[in-house]
């Protein structure tokens, strides 16, 4: 009996936890379709005007294009860096291997505001002009640990004798990498690209500090929040971003699991 009661309590806790976490997120689409400038219940009516207004806002389009450029660049660069680091840590023993990987993973736990301010100070001191490229730089810093985490498991789970078998069958190192290694870690690479893209697209603090005259989408949204009249539009935009992020995360998880299955590991969550 005591056990049953304990489980009931746990169930309640779990539900409360999920409601607290996700209820605000679900309010977003509700108000995005609400026919009122004020974000409050009761709802006054259904409309898609907010989305139409969004469609017509040129500044938003500019911010979206900026964000996409930054996200693609950050995802590609952090994945390339991740491939090198993950391959090295999975295959080779070298002095300080753990320490080096530890340092690369540090941005995962470092408060972003510290990373952002530190980068800003350094870049200004070095005389770099703030631009989308400085945002890319900051995003690569926070995306790379995720890339390494995903790609490390892809490389580590790969049976080493597969590469040896390829050499045994006459292929050199380069062709072995292209014909065996790369195809087997491709799902991991795709997952890494998608995660990097999603993180960069949503990231606000670093972008806010390091962006020049061209805002990214989150920075643009933040600037719009000062005007109450723009709030429903922001809600609509947030709604779209939510759907996009969820889709990307699902795709990333799909590829990560496929990678885990192909290389023979049990999978699991990140």
């Amino acid at each position: 009996m005591a056990r049953a009661r304990g489980q009931g309590w746990l169930k309640g806790y779990a539900i409360g936890y999920l409601v607290f976490l996700y209820a605000p997120v679900f309010l977003l689409p509700i108000f995005a379709f609400n026919d009122s400038a004020i974000i409050a219940f009761p709802l006054s009516g259904f409309t898609t005007a907010n989305f139409q207004q969004l469609w017509a806002t040129d500044a938003m389009h500019g911010a979206l294009v900026n964000s996409l450029q930054v996200a693609v660049a950050a995802a590609v660069i952090s994945t390339l860096l991740g491939i090198c680091a993950a391959r090295a840590s999975a295959r080779y023993e070298f002095p300080g291997r753990r320490a080096i990987i530890g340092f690369i993973m540090l941005p995962l736990v470092l408060p972003e505001i510290i990373v952002a301010v530190a980068l800003l100070v350094v870049l200004v001191q070095l005389g770099f002009a703030l631009s989308l490229w400085t945002v890319v730089l900051g995003h690569v810093l926070v995306c790379t640990p995720f890339s390494i985490a995903i790609l490390s498991s892809a490389f580590q789970n790969m049976d080493r004798s597969l590469e040896e078998a390829s050499q045994d069958l006459g292929e050199g190192r380069m062709m072995t990498f292209l014909r065996v290694t790369l195809p087997l870690v491709t799902p991991g690479i795709v997952a890494s690209l998608l995660i990097g893209f999603t993180i960069s697209l949503d990231e606000f603090i670093i972008a806010f500090f390091l962006t020049g005259t061209e805002p990214t989408l989150p920075v643009y949204i933040w600037s719009q929040l000062r005007f109450t009249a723009k709030l429903p539009g922001v809600m609509a935009l947030g709604c779209l971003l939510l759907v996009l992020s969820l889709a990307l995360l699902c795709a990333a998880e799909y590829f990560r699991r496929r990678s885990a299955r192909q290389t023979g590991s049990s999978g699991g969550y990140l």
């Binding site: 049976d159 004798s161 597969l162 040896e164 078998a165 390829s166 050499q167 045994d168 069958l169 006459g170 292929e171 050199g172 014909r179 065996v180 195809p183 087997l184 192909q262 290389t263 023979g264």
Partner: protein, 368 residues
């Protein structure tokens, strides 16, 4: 007794091959020749260096010292992809992103045979391992035994001079393993390629091999035919690793008419020819070995043997066709094991029963 001198032409020559990993010596100077077309086994417990030696021959590692030559060509500095060897890995290493036919065709790409010839060779190789028509199967849809066959086909399709097999049967269940032992043997005879098998299973090595190198601690303890290894092991390690062996303390008492005179604890005096001391002989405290099937229980008073000794049954294990007895003999600590075929009318003794044991001098091996 079979002739142990290797026949034919040496295909692989090992010359004092040493391999160290950091400070650990995995191979301490291994020499020997592996003949063209023979089924050769490297047998030993885990950690004896047998897999290390196989990987040196394949070219995945370089020897620390010594030399390996294949077909007369020194292999120093020749990478695995340029050696005339192919390997069946312990894990089979089937490429999971390719189907069966693509796996088998993997190594043919470099030969530029053309689409039709490639397909023909792949189908031929799959036929050899009884997987004809399996080409379109996905790698992950194969059973353990099928994966093993694909690995075999993938290596054989390259028509290597030497096929290296790294414990290829250890992942299979007993029944399938026994079936594959016979099939591998048959396949090796059919293709005529030199096979080098690494195994820790002495029975497997005995069944399949023309010659076996028994390895301990990075050295070859004995290199001989299965029959010689079983009947004339050079020392205690080899004798106890291959089959079951009874050990008796013994003393060399003298030599006359070319025979070595021994006094064996529990069995008594016996004189043996030098061939039965394959590892040479130590003058003082030494050991003799006798196989369980070389000892006979004498069930009736009329049965006679060259030598006889009385003892008592300590334990009897019934296997259906055979019964294994543990016997306490006077003057010995360890019980001696005797295996008896359960022929018609022959009783099965119980622990505590007295027993007469018969043996002949040709069954005694003096061990170094």
């Amino acid at each position: 007794m079979t002739d142990d001198r290797p026949r034919g032409r040496a295909l692989i020559e090992l010359d004092r091959v040493e391999k160290r990993f950091d400070e650990v010596a995995a191979l301490k100077g291994v020499s020997g020749s592996i003949m063209e077309g023979e089924f050769f086994s490297l047998l030993g417990p885990s950690g004896c260096g047998k897999t290390t030696l196989l990987r040196l021959i394949a070219g995945f590692d370089e020897p620390t010292r010594g030399a390996i030559a294949i077909d007369g060509k020194p292999m120093a500095g020749v990478p695995a992809n340029l050696r005339p060897t192919n390997m069946v890995f312990q894990s089979y290493a089937i490429f999971p992103h390719l189907d069966v036919a693509q796996n088998v065709a993997y190594g043919l790409r470099r030969l530029r045979l053309g689409r039709e010839e490639t397909a023909r060779r792949v189908e031929e190789a799959l036929g050899m391992v009884d997987l004809a028509g399996y080409g379109k199967r996905a790698a992950h849809a194969l059973s353990g035994g099928q994966r093993q066959r694909v690995a075999l086909a993938r290596a054989l399709v390259m028509r290597p001079r030497v096929l290296l097999l790294d414990e290829p049967l250890s992942a299979l269940d007993k029944k399938l393993r026994e079936q594959m032992q016979v099939e591998l043997r048959r396949l090796q005879r059919a293709v005529g390629i030199t096979f080098i098998l690494v195994t820790h299973d002495q029975e497997e090595a005995l069944i399949m091999s023309d010659r076996i190198a028994v390895m301990f601690d990075g050295e070859i303890a004995q290199l001989a035919s299965p029959e010689t290894l079983y009947r004339r092991p050079v020392d205690r390690r080899v004798a106890s690793f291959i089959g079951v062996m009874n050990f008796f303390d013994a003393r060399v008492t003298g030599e006359s008419a070319g025979l070595i005179e021994l006094d064996v604890a529990g069995l008594g005096p016996v004189a043996i020819p030098p061939e039965q001391a394959p590892g040479g002989r130590n003058a003082a405290g030494t050991t003799v070995g006798i196989r369980p099937e070389m000892l006979t229980l004498l069930f009736s008073d009329t049965e006679r043997a060259e030598h006889e000794v009385s003892g008592e049954v300590v334990d009897a294990v019934y296997y259906g066709d055979m019964t294994y007895y543990d016997l306490k003999l006077p003057g010995t600590e360890r019980p001696a094991t005797v295996s008896m075929r359960n022929t018609a009318g022959r009783p099965v003794l119980r622990p505590g029963d007295p027993a007469r044991v018969g043996w002949g001098r040709e069954s005694v091996i003096l061990l170094a």
